[in-house]
């Protein structure tokens, strides 16, 4: 039912109903924002990417076919945008590292804040665990991270992840298996003794 109305809105948008776009945006922007946030690990970049995804959706409205599930189509646009953003970021980083190497003698020493020293005495365990999980997910290879985010946080089935990432279901299964093995390894200290 929910997805049918997405399709109806897309068809409306194709006919020039811009109000349909606003409904689609308000309905789906939070999942897309969180996909981008968990994949890129940065709020500002995630917001820029969300804007980019919805602009692409608007521009590609004519190519949408109602036989394709709307969310799968949207996640495919978003997944491509995520991978492109990462490539652009790596390009920028490579350039800034070159600049840093060139200006190495004049570089200002980087101040690293000791977060543990300023942490409150009573740690908020939930927040701490959230940060730890975030660090572990951030440390996954790109394809594994995207597969985990789509499957675990966006609730996409293996088949839907495969469609979004343009992979086979077997490839997704393999990516998720390796990702979860790696996460489990990193989370070992937090798992009960009997399940390690």
């Amino acid at each position: 039912m929910h997805d049918d109305s997405d399709v109806a809105l897309m068809l409306g948008l194709q006919k020039g109903d811009t109000a349909a776009f606003e409904i689609l945006l308000r309905r789906h922007q939070e999942p897309i924002l969180n996909l981008a946030y968990r994949f890129l690990g940065d709020r500002d970049e995630a917001e820029d990417l969300t804007q980019d995804v919805f602009l692409r959706l608007y521009r590609a409205r004519a190519s949408y076919r109602p036989d394709a599930k709307f969310t799968t189509w949207l996640y495919r646009i978003a997944s491509n945008a995520c991978l492109n953003a990462l490539r652009a970021r790596k390009g920028r980083r490579a350039m800034s590292l070159e600049g840093l190497a060139a200006d190495g003698r004049n570089a200002t020493p980087i101040q690293i804040e000791d977060t543990k020293a300023s942490a409150p005495p009573v740690a908020l365990l939930r927040d701490e665990m959230g940060e730890r999980i975030r660090g572990i997910v951030d440390g996954l290879p790109d394809a594994q991270r995207l597969a985990i985010v789509l499957n675990k946080y966006q609730d996409l089935s293996y088949e839907e992840v495969a469609e979004a990432m343009d992979l086979t279901v077997m490839a997704v299964k393999s990516l998720l298996f390796r990702a979860r093995e790696r996460i489990k390894e990193r989370l070992m200290p937090y798992l009960r003794e009997e399940v390690r």
């Binding site: 776009f21 917001e47 675990k152 293996y158 998720l176 798992l191 009997e194």
Partner: protein, 165 residues
């Protein structure tokens, strides 16, 4: 299913992604193997811990920025189409002028069709005297080829003048 086969399926099993038959095979193995059962619990617990990663909420300014960008896109599109049409019209005028210019300077371009070619007195003369023109070609051929082919074929031909030139 043995332990190795089962372990490869544990993540998909924890995610509910196995077929009924595959899931049943895993369940049967886990019922008899405590080591694999512990690993399955580990994957389930990892899955639970993963859900601790907090998400973020949409800020109103982000929504407004997207709506604004799309509105700008929607209003700028027709302008682009108008610009494109103007460019196409200008290109068509230029193409027409070039064609007319070519016809003025080279009137034979785009001239008579193959049927009309025979109306040309020069062409008609060639067609009617083909034998004579063939003989003329034969007479002229050695002279035309002397500078090129004959010199290559005869090593005694003196080409010093050419080299000095």
């Amino acid at each position: 299913m043995n332990c190795d086969e089962t372990r490869l399926e544990l993540v998909a099993f924890a995610d509910g992604e196995l077929s009924q038959l595959e899931a049943q095979s895993v369940r049967e193995h886990l019922a008899t193997c405590t080591a694999c059962a512990a690993l399955a619990d580990g994957h389930r617990a990892t899955g639970d811990l993963l859900s601790e990663y907090p998400g973020i909420e949409v800020r109103t300014k982000t929504t407004l920025a997207i709506l604004d960008a799309v509105e700008r896109e929607a209003t700028s599109r027709p302008r682009r189409v108008v610009q494109l049409r103007r460019w196409l019209a200008a290109a068509a005028v230029v193409a027409a002028l070039v064609t007319i210019g070519s016809l003025v300077w080279h009137p034979h371009i785009g001239g008579p069709s193959s049927a009309g070619v025979l109306d040309d007195p020069v062409v008609l003369d060639i067609v009617q005297n083909l034998d004579l023109y063939d003989k003329l070609d034969d007479l002229m051929a050695p002279d035309i080829g002397s500078d090129l082919d004959l010199r290559a074929a005869d090593p005694d031909v003196d080409d010093t003048n050419d080299r000095e030139g």
